[in-house]
């Protein structure tokens, strides 16, 4: 099937969370019918997109029925009552396959729920299933999944971005109203950009990492995908807050993100960093982002040109810090307590090696090797320590910038979605797809990607809004203003 034929029924915008919630509460729609409708769409379209790896139909229908019963009694409904939501397969769900896109966890069923999953359940969400992603969230195209690539619903020959490709694609194709993704170097924002949906990177510590299969613990974040800024704000409101099960979870109060998404932007100071508009930026992407900036100016923002001079060092810092942490985190996959164990091992040492060799894919091994190298005796100071020092410079540069502006606007990615196979043989080319997103990851600040237009080929372009630590309300305000203009065009 060609991409063109399939675009019609594949691309569909979900109903808004607010409307769905109201219709369930006033009993004009039943949560069980909504859930059945989603499973019917998944059955029809998932074979083309490959977004879902596992469905949790029994649990979902049980939750939907409970919501309908609450509605029938006239009880007040929780914030996400009856809302169908998908979960990236790096987040633990009790008793449900949780593979992280890896063979090594093919049969793993965690004995507990991730905190983000618990919060969704408690808010009445109907959890549809688990979503495909790059193995251990390592990748920018979703081609590194052991369970096959996810295809972009806008054009099936193109990647959905990664690593949260399934999470972005399923919202774009209305196979979920919202989804959970994770972002270590851009894994929420870049696929949101490629698929034409909203994806939010919350401030480090804002959403608990408990139950997230760790890639790089000082960078990993959990955040929502949705079809609109308002819906993304609704889901983040449920996810955000302190959790004693995550030692890096923040105690700062949670803002009213939903209200922020409908506030105007008059008088906001928006920084435009020169370094994000240089060589390598596709001209069509640039034009769409500049149109978004013009829209912000027209709505009363003060546009300021700023410098973030160390931006070019972010990719090298990221690939040292992230791989060093990954090499330590992935040491736990040794075939002893959970996951795959090779059957051809004869002693303990060969069991470790063969289980890991047979269980991990090429990109995961590459990153473990790079991280182990950067941490090894004789190289630690030159690589890992150096990267941590430059990381501080990058973070402080952002803190300084946020003394002068309320938010920063950039492209989310240098190009629109590329073709499947286009970069899969060249790790360096693939890593450069993250050039505008890794900076916020390293600095711990919040960010999001909001659609701001399309290329002449019809591919979505995302505009990235970055905010200071715990500045989520500011980025929702700015994103909603971009969205208003993009919609009316």
């Amino acid at each position: 099937m060609s991409a063109q034929e399939s675009v019609g029924p594949l691309r569909q915008k979900p109903q808004s969370i607010r409307k769905l919630r109201a219709s369930i509460a006033e009993r004009s729609q039943r949560a069980i019918d909504i859930a059945e409708g989603y499973y019917a769409r998944i059955e029809r379209f998932n074979p083309q997109i490959n977004a879902y790896l596992a469905l949790t139909r029994d649990q979902a229908m049980e939750q939907a029925a409970a919501i309908d019963a609450q509605a029938a009694k006239g009880d007040p409904l929780p914030l996400l009552a009856g809302i169908p939501i998908g979960v990236k397969d790096v987040l633990a769900m009790r008793g449900v396959p949780t593979t992280a896109g890896s063979r090594i966890l093919e049969k793993y069923r965690p004995p507990y729920d991730a905190t983000a999953v618990t919060r969704l359940r408690n808010a009445g969400a109907v959890l549809l299933g688990k979503l495909n992603c790059d193995e251990f969230a390592m990748g920018s195209s979703n081609e590194n999944s052991a369970y096959g690539p996810v295809r972009n619903p806008v054009d099936l020959d193109r990647v959905p971005g990664g690593s949260s490709g399934g999470s972005a694609a399923s919202v774009a194709a209305d196979l979920a109203v919202a989804t959970l993704g994770t972002d270590t170097g851009g894994s929420i924002r870049q696929p949101a950009s490629f698929c034409g949906v909203v994806g939010v990177l919350p401030t480090y510590g804002r959403v608990s990492r408990y139950g997230l299969i760790a890639f790089a613990s000082s960078l990993d974040r959990v955040g929502p995908f949705a079809a609109s800024v308002q819906d993304a704000a609704e889901v983040l409101h449920v996810l955000a807050g302190h959790d004693s099960l995550d030692a890096t979870s923040a105690t700062q109060p949670v803002g009213d993100y939903v209200a922020a998404a409908s506030q105007d932007v008059k008088g906001m100071r928006i920084g435009i960093p020169e370094e994000y508009f240089g060589e390598g930026l596709d001209p069509e992407v640039r034009a769409a982002v500049e149109a978004g900036i013009d829209a912000l100016r027209a709505q009363g923002c003060e546009i300021r040109h700023i410098r973030l001079k160390h931006t070019q060092y972010a990719i090298p810092v990221y690939y040292l810090v992230a791989t060093a942490e990954a090499s330590a985190n992935l040491a736990r996959f040794d075939g002893v307590r959970f996951g795959y164990r090779s059957t051809s091992a004869t002693n303990l040492s060969s069991m470790y090696k063969l289980s890991r060799e047979e269980g991990f894919g090429a990109e995961v091994k590459r990153r473990i090797l790079l991280g182990t190298y950067a941490l090894s005796a004789g190289y630690y100071d030159a690589y890992y320590r150096k990267a941590q020092q430059v990381r501080r410079i990058l973070a402080e540069e952002f803190c300084q910038a946020f003394g002068e502006v309320d938010a920063i606007v950039t492209p989310t990615a240098p190009t629109a979605a590329f073709r499947i196979g286009e970069k899969s043989d060249d790790p360096m080319a693939m890593y450069l797809a993250d050039i505008y997103t890794v900076t916020a990851s390293l600095a711990g600040i919040c960010g999001l990607s909001v659609p701001c237009g399309t290329t002449t080929a019809g591919l979505p372009v995302g505009l990235q809004v970055l905010g200071p630590h715990f500045g989520e309300s500011a980025i929702f305000r700015v994103a909603a203003a971009v969205e208003r203009t993009a919609k009316s065009e």
């Binding site: 060092y313 996951g339 164990r341 002693n347 060969s350 060799e357 091994k365 090797l369 020092q389 630590h469």
Partner: protein, 107 residues
């Protein structure tokens, strides 16, 4: 810092990481590691002699948290943890109480 990584080094690192690479895999990893490390080399341009390494971003904003390093520790009190049976369900080989592995010490 920019010296080429040799096959022997790739093998040494693989050993440290408990990975067993096939011969052709080692060649490919050598090529990729050299490409990435070559790119990473540009960090040498920055003078970091006066910069403290940053391990956690929490260092920047959580002066209000107990240890000032971006972490908050919970009170050390007993709480229920996961059930042993639930955990052992995931083990490749177990007798119900312990994880079983191939022989550790060869006699």
């Amino acid at each position: 810092m920019s010296a080429e990584v040799t096959i022997a080094e790739v093998e040494r690192v693989a050993e440290l990481a408990n990975l067993e690479l096939a011969a052709e895999e080692a060649v490919r990893m050598q090529r990729d590691l050299n490409a990435i490390l070559g790119y990473v080399d540009q960090l040498r341009q920055i003078d970091t002699s006066q910069v403290e390494p940053m391990a956690q971003v929490g260092e920047l904003f959580v002066a209000n948290q107990a240890d000032g390093r971006g972490e908050s520790l919970r009170a050390d009190v007993l709480r229920p943890s996961l059930q042993r049976a639930d955990v052992m369900d995931s083990a490749p080989e177990t007798d119900g109480a312990f994880f079983k592995t191939p022989k550790v010490i060869e006699r």
